[in-house]
Symmetry: C2
């Protein structure tokens, strides 16, 4: 098949990106980290303020071990950060992009439901 009008246009843009492979890989991993019901609820909960592991576990009715596993994947992609207070680790969102991501995603979902 002959290339469609947009093909050559997009192709040149893709070639011009250089080392964009790493960028798309990281972008996909970021979305994948949010692509789990438990993790996206963890992030949503943290938009209301910092919480410790036990709190999140009680909130979502999931074991603290499972929450800890999820928090590691979120931490690895710098979606959340933590601070220690005595024996307790308080988790919070790492930057303001995360909350915007959730909001933007929610708007799409609201359109889906209607």
């Amino acid at each position: 098949m002959n290339p469609t009008p947009n093909f050559t246009k997009v192709e040149s843009q893709l070639r011009g990106q250089g080392d964009s492979v790493q960028r798309f890989q990281l972008l996909a991993e970021t979305f994948k980290a949010l692509g789990d019901p438990t993790r996206v609820q963890i992030v949503w909960a943290l938009t209301h303020g910092e919480l410790c592991v036990t709190d999140i576990a009680n909130l979502l009715s999931v074991s603290a071990s499972a929450i800890s596993h999820h928090l590691r994947t979120l931490r690895n992609l710098r979606l959340v950060k933590s601070r220690r207070d005595h024996r307790t680790l308080f988790y919070s969102l790492d930057d303001e992009h995360i909350e915007h991501l959730l909001e933007e995603g929610m708007e799409h979902v609201e359109d889906l439901i209607l």
Copy 2:
């Protein structure tokens, strides 16, 4: 452990959401759909204009069959839509939220790399 200050606050907000389970489920599925290197590149390519399956396959050096599979998951979540022109199906982004999602995600990734 006693509930931390934010726990009761977030808990009441969670209870007040009602049937939010479905919302979070769909939100997670949406992010998961974008959480794949090939699919996120498909969506990125479509931000530059509509493309057919063969074009996308050539662009990303992936088989047309694999692209078709990915397009179905994107279509199921209404991230992309299609129109037919003779034998060719042209795919494009379903609404403007999708492009914003990608931009917001990219900004986070740029911070990651630096």
